[in-house]
Amino acid sequence: MSELTLFLVRIAYLAILWIFVLSAISVIRSDMFGARVPAPAAPGKQPRAPKPASPRRGQPTRVEVVQGVNTGIVADLAQAPVLIGRGNDAAIRLDDDYVSTRHARIVESGGQWYVEDLGSTNGTYLGSQRLTQPVPVGLGSQIRIGKTIVELRK
């Protein structure tokens, strides 16, 4: 193996090392600026679907308390977000000792309904799962709040 070859190998290896470093940096750079915002689509386009869109089939239109002290209370999902809690400003006001003042809310995003826990003391459950982040819910999903169960209905 001649001196020159070894020298070239060495230089080539250092070049590879730096190509790697620089590509890593360029990925970081594109990561900073390259993120696309999907939500507002193109600015010139007509805003999609008028706001009070007719409820599509299979979409829930109201929330109902199906079990607990306040069974029967109904709130219209058209007034989303629907706040559930013991406080006076809640759309569904529950007289349940295990419910926080502002316990959970049901919100819509992109045609999908989500239930989000608002940092309640006793938690919001979907089945046996305690919510830690907004979770999609559909028709018939039973959300347990304290000793109360609310359900999305048509």
Binding site: L6, V9, I16, S23, R36, V37, P81, P136
Partner: protein, 464 residues
């Protein structure tokens, strides 16, 4: 709130393709170094290049696929960077093997395999990093137990004056490496719950607001115990690491610069006391101040490393062309001296930059993480990484007195390698959670004044 909604419009891409591209380059870095070592030492490409490269590729691809499946939004740069560092480290260790006629590289490859397996396992077992917050005190106790293990007679072994290894059959293991990850989790879990109390409640003494004893007590105790154990074991590097980690996390959690002042005072006080009490601290400082005073004795290691750097110069001697075996422990603490000698300042700078990128990505994950616990864990892990690199590379290049620590991913050392792969897995998990787009719920967030009044509460963990 304005920044929040601005952030909401910013959606991270998955970037798995970019990660794959970088991984291919990282493999070229690792396997290329291996081939170059063979060319330099024997004048031919090593015969087992296919097998070795295939195994390395397999590990990297396995890690990549795992990330694709279980953490699709994770940071695209972390994995390739550590794969490249690990590959380069393997090649350098192989090079030292050839010079010293040892078989450390294959052992290191086994450890790397274990590291990648644990990396994948961590990602699978841990779907959400907030689960770790449940083990705040458990992990603290485990960490202390792990730190005590080497002091048990029969189990612990003393190597080079530091009693930090335990030997189980043919393996020796450094439990402190695992303990540092656990301590980060403990500190983060504790601080995220108590940070408001730590920052706001308490008395003002001279210039510093001291928190109440009951807020600071548990964590201070944990920290004193772990530091005390390390001092008893004469593990200077790890003591420095834990001290710095504690300080950084306290500062980040409470946002009080006063802690840095207190910490600096404590550090210099402690260093002065250690200098007076411990002879090995004195000798380390003496070597640092003038390694050439006893160039053939106590200063031999550092002097040889410095000669290595100098001889390597800007582009190095070429892999296989230098004499890195002259430096004692060149395969572990002093591996950067081998890099500097054979690949020169150019490669040393690249390696330092790669470490910088790891720290930057970890801090980035901390910045964009949505929960306080994730922020603190990512910051803590970044601090561990940064401090470790600073302490060991500063020591090897005679910037600060030498304290033994391994260079992450580069050095020979199984426990350190495995622990570092787990650290990267946790960081990937945090960045995956942070970059994953949430459903857009920001629109109706700002309207209620009650909401804004309770913002302070919202940074508290949601899982309680």
């Amino acid at each position: 709130m304005a920044t929040n909604s601005a952030l909401m419009g910013f959606v991270h891409r998955r970037r798995r393709g970019a990660e794959l591209f970088l991984l291919v380059l990282a493999l070229i870095v690792g396997i290329g170094a291996y081939a170059a070592v063979g060319l330099g030492v024997d004048g031919e490409v090593p015969t087992n290049l296919i097998g070795y490269g295939g195994w390395l590729t397999l590990l990297v691809v396995a890690a990549h696929i795992a990330v694709r499946i279980v953490a699709p939004y994770a940071d695209p740069v972390l994995l390739p960077v550590v794969a490249a560092l690990n590959g380069l480290g393997l090649a350098i260790i192989h090079r030292i093997d050839l010079a010293k006629d040892t078989g450390l590289a294959s052992q290191q490859l086994t450890w790397m395999t274990l590291g990648v397996v644990l990396f994948v396992a961590t990602l699978i077992v841990l779907p959400d990093h907030r689960l770790l917050a449940r083990f705040t005190y458990t992990s603290g106790l485990t960490a202390i137990a792990l730190l005590i293990l080497p002091m048990i007679p029969g189990l612990g072994t003393q190597i080079n004056g530091a009693r930090i290894w335990i030997s189980l059959g043919p393996f020796s293991f450094q439990p402190g490496e695992i303990a540092k990850v656990l301590l980060v989790i403990t500190f983060a879990g504790y601080l995220v719950v108590h940070r408001d109390a730590l920052a706001l409640a308490g008395r003002r003494v001279v210039f510093v607001d001291l928190p109440r004893g009951r807020d600071l007590g548990p964590i201070l105790m944990m920290w004193v115990v772990s530091l005390g154990i390390l001092v008893l074991q004469r593990d200077l590097g790890s003591s420095l690491l834990f001290f710095g980690l504690f300080l950084v996390m306290l500062y980040v959690a409470t946002e009080r610069p006063g802690w840095l002042v207190v910490g600096a005072l404590l550090f210099f006080g402690g260093a002065a006391v250690a200098f007076r009490i411990f002879s090995h601290v004195q000798s380390r400082v003496d070597i640092w101040l003038d390694p050439f005073a006893d160039a053939d004795g106590s200063g031999y290691q550092l002097v040889q490393a410095l000669y290595g750097f100098a001889w390597g110069g800007l582009v190095g001697r070429g892999l296989g062309e230098g004499m890195p075996q002259r430096v004692p422990y060149v395969e572990s603490d002093f591996i950067l001296a081998a890099v500097g000698e054979e690949l020169g300042l150019t490669a040393v700078m690249a390696v330092l930059l790669l470490y910088g990128l790891v720290v930057e990505r970890a801090l980035r994950a901390a910045l964009i993480s949505r929960d306080g616990f994730g922020k603190l864990v990512a910051t803590g892990l970044a601090a561990v990484f940064a401090l470790q690199v600073f302490v060991v590379i500063g020591g090897v290049t005679r910037l600060i007195p030498l304290t033994g620590l391994t260079t992450p991913f580069l050095s020979y050392g199984g426990s350190s390698l495995v622990a570092n792969w787990v650290i990267i897995a946790i960081l990937l998990r945090i960045s995956d959670q942070a970059r994953r787009p949430l459903p857009d719920l920001a629109a109706d967030e700002a309207e209620d004044p009650d909401d804004q009044a309770t913002q302070v509460v919202k940074v508290m963990p949601e899982w309680r």
